[in-house]
Symmetry: C2
Subunit: 361 residues, 2 copies
C-alpha cells in the first residue's frame, strides 16, 4: 500500500492506494468520527463493493443511500435526497459521510457532508480511475446547475481517501479511458517525463496492468496534491489543473450533460487547448499532434461534437474561470508547462473555434 499525504495544515489527509484495501479489516477505523455513518453510493458500484465496505465499518450504525450514476443526476434535487436522509436518520455533527463510487457520487456526497450541519466528516472511496486520480485530491465538491457545470459547491477536504485499485478491473473500457484523460493532463501541465512514460505505457494502461495503473495513480495524485497544497482555494496555480476543462465543460454542456463522459470531454478539451496554444505560437509545432496521438492510442476522442462556434463560446464564458467577462484559459507553453492566462487576442479564440467546427462539417 502506498500512502500519500495531501499537505493542508490542519486539513491534511492521507490517500491510501493499493490492491485489496477493501478487504483490510480496520483500515478505515482511524478516519471515522462517531458511530453514525451514511454510505452514499450508486446503483452500479453499490451492489459490487457495498458489502465489503460495510464489513470495514463493523458494528457502526450505517445508513445507505444509492444514487443514480452519471453526470445527469448531479443536481440540487439529488443533493437534497442525501440531506433528507441525514436528517431522517437524525445524524448529529459527529457522523461520517462515506462516498463509494465515481466522481459524481463523491461530488454529491462530499457536498452534502460540507453543508450538513455546516460540515461533517467525509471519507472517500473512489472506484473509478477518474475519481482516484482527480476527485480524490483537493476537496472540490458540488453539483451542476442547468446554467453550468459545478456552479454550486464547496471546498471540503476528506478525512481520508481509500483507493483500492482492484475496483478498476470491473470498470467499463470507456470509463477507464476517461480516467486516463486526466492522467495525461497531469503530464501536460507539470511533468514532461511522466508524459513520456505514459506514451511508453499506453498499451499496458489500456490492458489494465496493475503496476502501470498504480504508478499512474500515484504520480497523478502526487502532482495534484502538490498543486493543491500550494493553493487550496484556487487563487492562482491550482487553476492549472483546469487544462482542457473550459473547452471540456463547454462540450459537456452543449452536448447535454451525460452524453459525453467528463474525461472524454477533457480529452477533446486538452486537444483544443493544445491546438489553440500552437495557433498562438506558444507551443512548439508538432506538440499538439503528439498529444493527440497519445489520446487516440488511449481510445479517447480528440475533437468536439459539431456545435455552433458562437454557442460554444457562450458556453465557455459561463465557466468559473471567467473574470470580468474575460475568458481565462489554461494553455500550454510546452508539454509539461501550462499557464493560466486571459492574455490572448479574443478574435483568435473565435477563429480557432471556427476552424475546429468548420473542419468537421
Amino acid at each position: 500500500m502506498i500512502t500519500l499525504t495531501v499537505e493542508l495544515a490542519e486539513r491534511s489527509y492521507p490517500i491510501l492506494i493499493g490492491s485489496g484495501l477493501l478487504g483490510r479489516a480496520g483500515i478505515l477505523d482511524p478516519w471515522l468520527g462517531g458511530d453514525d455513518v451514511l454510505l452514499v453510493t450508486n446503483d452500479v458500484v453499490g451492489p459490487i463493493y457495498g458489502e465489503p465496505l460495510q464489513r470495514l465499518l463493523g458494528a457502526r450504525r450505517v445508513e445507505t443511500i444509492s444514487l443514480p450514476d452519471g453526470e445527469a443526476g448531479k443536481t440540487m434535487g439529488t443533493l437534497e435526497r442525501v440531506l433528507d436522509r441525514l436528517v431522517e436518520a437524525r445524524f448529529g455533527r459527529d457522523c461520517t459521510v462515506i462516498t463509494l463510487g465515481g466522481g459524481v457520487t463523491g461530488d454529491i456526497g462530499g457536498f452534502a457532508a460540507a453543508i450538513y450541519q455546516r460540515g461533517v466528516r467525509f471519507v472517500q472511496v473512489p472506484t473509478t480511475l477518474l475519481a482516484q486520480v482527480d476527485s480524490s485530491v483537493g476537496g472540490k465538491t458540488g453539483v451542476n446547475h442547468p446554467g453550468g457545470k459545478n456552479l454550486i459547491g464547496a471546498f471540503h477536504q476528506p478525512a481520508c481517501v481509500l483507493a483500492d485499485t482492484d475496483t478498476l478491473q470491473t470498470l467499463p473500457d470507456r470509463e477507464l479511458a476517461a480516467g486516463l484523460a486526466e492522467v495525461v493532463k497531469y503530464g501536460l501541465i507539470l511533468d514532461a517525463e511522466f508524459f513520456t512514460w505514459l506514451e511508453q505505457q499506453a498499451v499496458a494502461l489500456r490492458r489494465r496492468d496493475p503496476a502501470s495503473l498504480r504508478h499512474a495513480i500515484r504520480r497523478s495524485c502526487e502532482i495534484k496534491a502538490r498543486v493543491v497544497a500550494a493553493d487550496e482555494r484556487e487563487q492562482g496555480q491550482r487553476a492549472l489543473l483546469n487544462l482542457g476543462h473550459t473547452f471540456g465543460h463547454a462540450i459537456e454542456r452543449c452536448a447535454g450533460y451525460g452524453q459525453w463522459l467528463h474525461g472524454e470531454a477533457v480529452a477533446a478539451g486538452l486537444s483544443m487547448a493544445a491546438r489553440f496554444s500552437e495557433r498562438l505560437g506558444w507551443l512548439p509545432g508538432g506538440s499538439s499532434a503528439r498529444i493527440e496521438e497519445l489520446l487516440t492510442r488511449l481510445d479517447l476522442p480528440v475533437r468536439p461534437p459539431q456545435i455552433d462556434p458562437r454557442e460554444f463560446l457562450a458556453a465557455m464564458s459561463m465557466d468559473k474561470k471567467v473574470r470580468a467577462g474575460e475568458i481565462r484559459l489554461v494553455l500550454l507553453r510546452d508539454i509539461g508547462e501550462a499557464v493560466v492566462t486571459g492574455d490572448y487576442p479574443p478574435h483568435e479564440l473565435l477563429e480557432e473555434l471556427r476552424a475546429t467546427f468548420m473542419a468537421e462539417v
Copy 2:
C-alpha cells in the same frame, strides 16, 4: 464610527458600527470584489434602504433580488432562487453578494455566497438589532430543513459588516426586543458587568436611545468576536453562544417556524436554561428570577408555549449540539459564566420540562 475587527487570520474582517453609515460615499469600496454585485434584500427593508445602498455601489453592475421576510422563507427553495439569479446574471467568481436585511436575509444570502462557484465574496448590511449583534459575527450561514433549524449551511466569513444603527429606528418593537434577547445572552455567558449595565439601561434600550444601543451592539459584537476568534468552527468554546438556543430552537420548531421570532424563542430558552441550571443546583438561587425580570422588562417572553414535554424533548434532540444521542446543553454556573455540558441526569431534564409545561396548564 466604531470599527471592530473579527480576528480570523486571513479571514479577518471589520465590523463598522455607527449612525449614518449608509450615507457615506465610498464606505464599501475597499470591501467589494469585481464590478458585479448581487444585492439580496427583503420586501420590508429593500424599499427603505435599497436606494441608499445602491448609491454606495456607484457604477457597478447591480442585480437585486428581494426575498420574503421571516424564518418561514429560510428554505432550500429560496436559496435556489438566489443561486438561479447569480447564474442568470452570469456572475463570475469575482462577484460580491451583499445582504441587506435581518438574520434570515443574511443567512440565505451568505449561504448562497458560500456555495456559488464554491464561494464568492460576501458583504453584510444587517438592519435589525438581532442581525447586528448576532448574525454579523462568526460567518454562520444556512437555511432550515423541515426536520430542523439551520441544519443545512456553511461557515462563510463576510469581507465586511456595515451596521448602520439608524436602521434600528424603523424596526418594529417586537423585533427590537427580539434582538435584545441576544444582547442579554452575551452578558449571561461571559460578562456579568454588562448584564448589570443592561439592567440599568433597560428603559433606555426600549426607547431606542442611540448611545445605549450603540454600546449594546459594540459590547455584544466584541464578546462574540472574541469567542469566534478562539473557536471559528465551533469545536468547543463557541458553543457557549448557543445558550438558550437548544430550548429556543425546539420552541420555534414545535410552534411552527415563523410563529415566534428567533429572539423571542431565545428569550424563553434563556429562562428555561437558567431554571434548569438552578434545578441542578448550579446557578445561585434567585438568579433565574433576576434574569426573567430583565427579559420581562425588555418585553420578552420567559415561558414557552404549551407543548407536550416529550415532543419538546424530541425537538431538542434534533439540535446540532447532540452528540451520540446525548443532548449537550449550555447551562449557567453564574450570571456571566456559562458551560457546555452533557453531564447532567437526563431524567432531570424531562422533569424540568414536565414542571415547565404543567405549570402552564
